[in-house]
């Protein structure tokens, strides 16, 4: 059994205009030490997925259905008290913007020690020693000095190192990293990502990496999910998806990468933009932007606008697309009738 | 008030707006606006509504003094809410008093807004030394508390000009005093939103197009600062009415011959120990209802418009 199993996760926001479904039918697993990427444009529900794993969605959002099972415990029905023992202890998080994540009025040492003390019976002195050790592991310059400093005295890169150190404090099983490098200077993004990857490998920590950067995902993760408008549309081993994407959206994302373009030509981009979750198109939510709605023969595929696509398997991957399903069906029929 | 402008296109825009939508759904806001409008109409129509003219000494009989309101034994049919210590009909004098209070409240806020918006625009738009001087001035005045400034100015003016003169021009005096005491609130709010607007591209665009800074300020920046101005105006009217009442209560406001709600409360306070509580508490209740309805409207407006207000 996998370390973390998410099945049929359904998250909604009760807004004045009515309920908005931020996540539907999200299912995936994570093994011990495995690294999983969650990819999508902003608004696809990546961050909601990350926060709902630890039930940290705040009002008006709530988990409406599904199960999140971690090491035998169903997290989404766990009491707040028991859940607290998981948060920061066995599953820790790294937030997007290091400038906003640390509390401005508490010293770095205080914010590290409190986390250790919340989960272990430990003296302040011992906690400081552990904190210092972790600060060394994240290769921060002069770590002794940092414990008594305040966040505003440190640069963004240093703060994110500290947040990684806090994530590692209690030797967790899983780290959930929500766009951990997006807010940083481009020059230090790669450095921080390499550090995170290195530490996860060293300590055999599972990583759920949420990002919109396919390049990072392909370098860091073993498996990936592609999300669109609150649904998973393609999932499988990272290498397979990157090399041979099936879903038109995934193909579009990959084609839009600058590395894929021919110098001197315009970048390929997916036309249109992500729909608002409150007003999703019927059928496949991607259909208004999809180039494959019309069959090669010229007749439109009506299922795209009428029916939400289910998953079909291609190799180790699973894809939610009517076009792919039809192709597979055709191939199967051809094989059966030689 | 700026929402009820005359052009029909504005009306249509108002009807489609979120403000109107939320107003239709908010019972408290509707009730408050109804009460407020009733009070305003009743106050300004007081010469038509009031059964007696409390300024006319011939209509007053001192023998009718301290009569209780109708639900208490010993009440007189002619005076529904009873009479005050001078024998004036309490209902009439409250109507006239509310008019005085509202007049001073609106007048003072108009003056505050005029000074504050001008200074705030100058400070925010011109920046540099003008900004430093104006804001330091505002800081000093605010650190002194506006009521304190009003009391001191009132006291000094009264001492300089003499009581009789001060009483004669009390309405204008109070508008000036309260108006001058509270301008920093507007100035700081306007300055804050000007600074926020100034960073935006359309202001740069206007400048690149060669528009003069005064034109940019009034035609481009000011309209975008209107919603915070509008929101603090409601609170400021409530504050001005309370300030006026406080000054009158201290004897630095409206004379008893021409009372506002505050001076009615002051006059009645002397009789509370003798059991005639209505002379002070009924005008007090009217004052609270008036201020409360304005404050609740202000609260609702702030929720709806949600402007960036200057804190502190």
């Amino acid at each position: 059994m996998a370390l973390l199993e998410v099945s049929q996760l359904d998250v909604r926001f009760a807004l004045r205009q009515g309920e908005v479904r931020a996540l539907r039918d999200v299912s995936f697993t994570l093994d011990r030490g495995e690294r999983l990427g969650i990819v999508g444009e902003s608004g696809a529900g990546k961050s909601v997925a990350a926060f709902s794993l630890l039930n940290l969605i705040s009002r008006p959002g709530f988990i409406a259905g599904g199960r999140i099972v971690f090491d035998g415990q169903t997290l989404n029905t766990l009491s707040e008290r028991k859940l607290r023992k998981v948060r920061g202890n066995r599953i820790s998080m790294i937030f997007q913007d290091p400038m906003m994540t640390l509390n401005p009025v508490l010293s770095i040492g205080e914010q590290m020690v409190e986390c250790l003390k919340a989960h272990r019976r430990i003296s302040s002195k011992a906690a400081r020693a552990i904190a210092l050790d972790k600060l060394r592991q994240v290769q921060i310059p002069s770590p002794e000095k940092r414990l008594d400093q305040y966040p505003h005295e440190l640069s963004g890169g240093m703060r994110q190192r500290i947040i990684i150190a806090i994530a590692l404090l209690l030797d967790p099983d899983i780290i959930i990293a929500d766009e951990p490098t997006t807010a940083l200077d481009v020059t230090i993004q790669a450095e921080i990502m390499a550090l995170l990857l290195d530490l996860c490998e060293q300590h055999n920590v599972g990583l759920i990496l949420i990002t919109h950067d396919l390049g990072v995902v392909s370098q860091v993760t073993q498996r990936m999910l592609v999300m669109y408008a609150g649904r998973v549309i393609e999932q499988g081993p990272t290498r397979e998806i990157i090399n041979d994407p099936q879903h038109p959206y995934t193909q579009g994302l990959l084609n839009a990468l600058p590395q894929m373009a021919t110098p001197g030509e315009k970048l390929n981009q997916i036309r249109g933009s992500m729909p608002s979750l409150a007003k999703l198109p019927s059928g496949c939510a991607f259909h208004p932007r999809c180039d494959f709605m019309i069959r090669p023969s010229g007749e439109p595929r009506t299922a795209c606008t009428e029916q939400v696509p289910g998953f079909v398997g291609t190799g180790n991957c699973r894809v939610a697309c009517h076009m792919v399903a039809e192709m597979l069906e055709d191939r199967r029929l051809k094989e059966e009738t030689p | 008030m700026t929402t009820t402008t005359t052009t029909p296109s504005r009306w249509e825009r108002l009807r489609d707006s979120y403000v109107w939508y939320s107003f239709k759904r908010d019972r408290t806001a509707q009730l408050c606006l109804a009460i407020f409008l009733c009070l305003v109409v009743a106050a300004f129509a007081s010469p038509l509504i009031a059964p007696t003219d409390p300024y006319d000494l011939r209509q007053i009989d001192i023998l009718d003094s301290e009569l209780p309101p109708f639900w208490i034994d010993g009440a007189d049919d002619r005076y529904a809410l009873g009479t005050d210590a001078q024998g004036r009909d309490l209902w009439s004098i409250i109507l006239y008093g509310t008019r005085v209070s509202l007049l001073i409240g609106f007048g003072a806020v108009l003056l505050q807004a005029l000074i504050g918006v001008t200074f705030g625009l100058m400070a925010g738009y011109l920046g540099g030394r003008v900004d430093a001087i104006l804001m330091r001035l505002a800081d000093i005045q605010l650190s002194f508390s506006t009521l304190m400034v009003a009391i001191v100015v009132g006291a000094v003016v009264k001492a300089t000009m003499g009581s009789a003169f001060y009483s004669q021009y009390a309405v204008i005096m109070l508008i000036l005093i309260i108006g001058l005491a509270e301008w920093p609130q507007y100035a700081r709010t306007v300055r804050a939103s000007v600074l926020a607007e100034k960073g935006k591209e359309y202001v740069d665009a206007a400048r690149v197009m060669g528009l003069r800074s005064r034109r940019i300020m009034f035609r481009h920046v000011l309209p975008n600062t209107l919603s915070p101005i509008f929101v603090i105006s409601t609170v400021q009217i409530a504050n001005a009415i309370i300030s006026e009442a406080a000054l009158s209560f201290l004897g630095l406001g409206m004379p008893e011959t021409h009372p506002s709600l505050g001076s009615l409360i002051k006059a009645g306070f002397d009789y509370i120990q003798s059991g005639s509580w209505w002379i002070t508490l009924i005008p007090g209740a009217v004052l609270v209802v008036l201020v409360l309805s304005i404050n609740l409207l202000g609260d609702w407006l702030r929720d709806v418009m949600n402007p960036r207000l200057y804190k502190g």
């Binding site: 948060r87 509390n103 505003h152 | 650190s143 508390s145 009391i151 509370i272 120990q273 007090g284 201020v291």
Partner: protein, 349 residues
């Protein structure tokens, strides 16, 4: 720290300079010491000579310099009414006002923080809604009116007879809603305990405290709802912040999230506003002391205005200016101690 203090000191000097100019202008325009010194019968030529001898015909700046020099030495002249140094008169009235402000501040701090925090944490609960409604009503009632209502209820007493007395429950309800009115509402009482100098305290005896209750509650009545609303609004904003979310993600207890992570950040703007409001509170002492005939500086000031006692008015203004400047400086220092981003140089942007 030194630079910070120097900056504050410069500000304080500037404020005091403005106040002293104002005070001097009042004295210069209103106070005619000659008229106070001599009778009506003294001819104008003699008056003029006296004016010259007193230096009243000197240029404005020379006169101001003399005024400032005396003021620094604590000499504001004699009160016309009391016939003794104005500063001594103020010294006699100061303790009563300070005790009143102290008691009101205590009420405000003790109630506003728990109520504000509670209604921010549980904004939908019935109790929070009650507090929010109560606070907006509280803000809408002027201090002197609260004082009058308190006097009517607790000092004079109210007799309710709206329910028929003949039935048992009627008279019970009438009794429940009626009050006997035994609280003192006039002055400080006679059970004062001498501390030192001109300081007699209300805080040492039960009767003294009883005299303090109604004035202190009245004085607190407008600030308390203001602070409840301020603390609630700030706390709710802080609760939305990333660092509070992150603190929860670390698995620390909610109590620690609320009272260490959120409250400390909430208090920063509250402290700043608090500094300004102390000034407002001094203004409100004038109203409260008038209603309760509390023999403090506020009542003294109002009497001085009515008696045109210029030296007393001027010295009151100067002393209040000093109180404002001192409290603002102290508040800034506290702010600097709580907020680590304030370093030696001053406030952050």
């Amino acid at each position: 720290m030194i630079a910070f203090l120097i900056k504050r000191l410069m500000h304080a000097v500037l404020v005091m300079f403005v106040i002293s100019l104002l005070a001097f202008a009042i004295q210069d325009n209103l106070g005619d010491p000659v008229a106070q010194m001599v009778g009506q019968s003294v001819p104008e030529s003699e008056r003029q000579a006296l004016r010259e001898r007193l230096g009243l015909t000197d240029p404005f700046l020379v006169q101001y310099a003399r005024f400032a020099k005396n003021a620094v030495q604590g000499d504001f002249g004699n009160s016309y009414f009391y016939g003794e140094p104005a500063l001594e008169v103020i010294g006699r009235h100061l303790p009563a006002t300070l005790e009143l402000v102290f008691a009101a501040t205590l009420i405000i701090v003790l109630f506003s923080v728990p109520i504000g925090v509670y209604s921010a944490i549980k904004p939908r609960s019935l109790i929070s809604r009650f507090f929010m409604s109560a606070s907006i009503i509280g803000i809408s009632i002027p201090v002197f009116l609260t004082a009058i209502v308190l006097i009517q209820i607790f000092s004079i007493g109210i007799t309710v007879s709206i329910f028929p007395d003949s039935t048992g429950w009627g008279s019970w309800l009438n009794g429940l809603l009626s009050t006997s009115g035994s609280m003192p509402s006039f002055g400080r009482g006679y059970d004062l305990v001498h501390v030192f100098g001109s300081w007699d305290t209300n805080l040492a005896t039960l009767s003294g405290l009883q005299h303090l209750v109604l004035p202190a509650v009245s004085l607190a009545s407008i600030m308390l709802p203001l602070f409840v609303r301020l603390i609630r609004a700030e706390m709710m904003e802080v609760m939305q912040s990333e660092y509070v979310k992150y603190a929860r993600a670390k698995g620390i207890s909610m109590r620690r999230v609320y009272f260490v992570h959120a409250l400390k950040n909430t208090m920063l703007p509250v402290i700043t506003v608090g500094g300004v409001q102390i000034g407002t509170m001094v203004a409100y002492t004038i109203l409260t002391e008038t209603v309760f005939q509390w023999p403090g500086m506020g009542l003294m000031f109002l009497d001085a205005i009515n008696r045109a006692d210029i030296p007393l008015i001027v010295s009151y203004l100067m002393i209040v200016g000093v109180i404002f400047v001192v409290t603002n400086t102290v508040v800034d220092l506290i702010y600097g101690l709580v907020n680590p981003t304030v370093k030696l140089t001053g406030k952050p942007a």
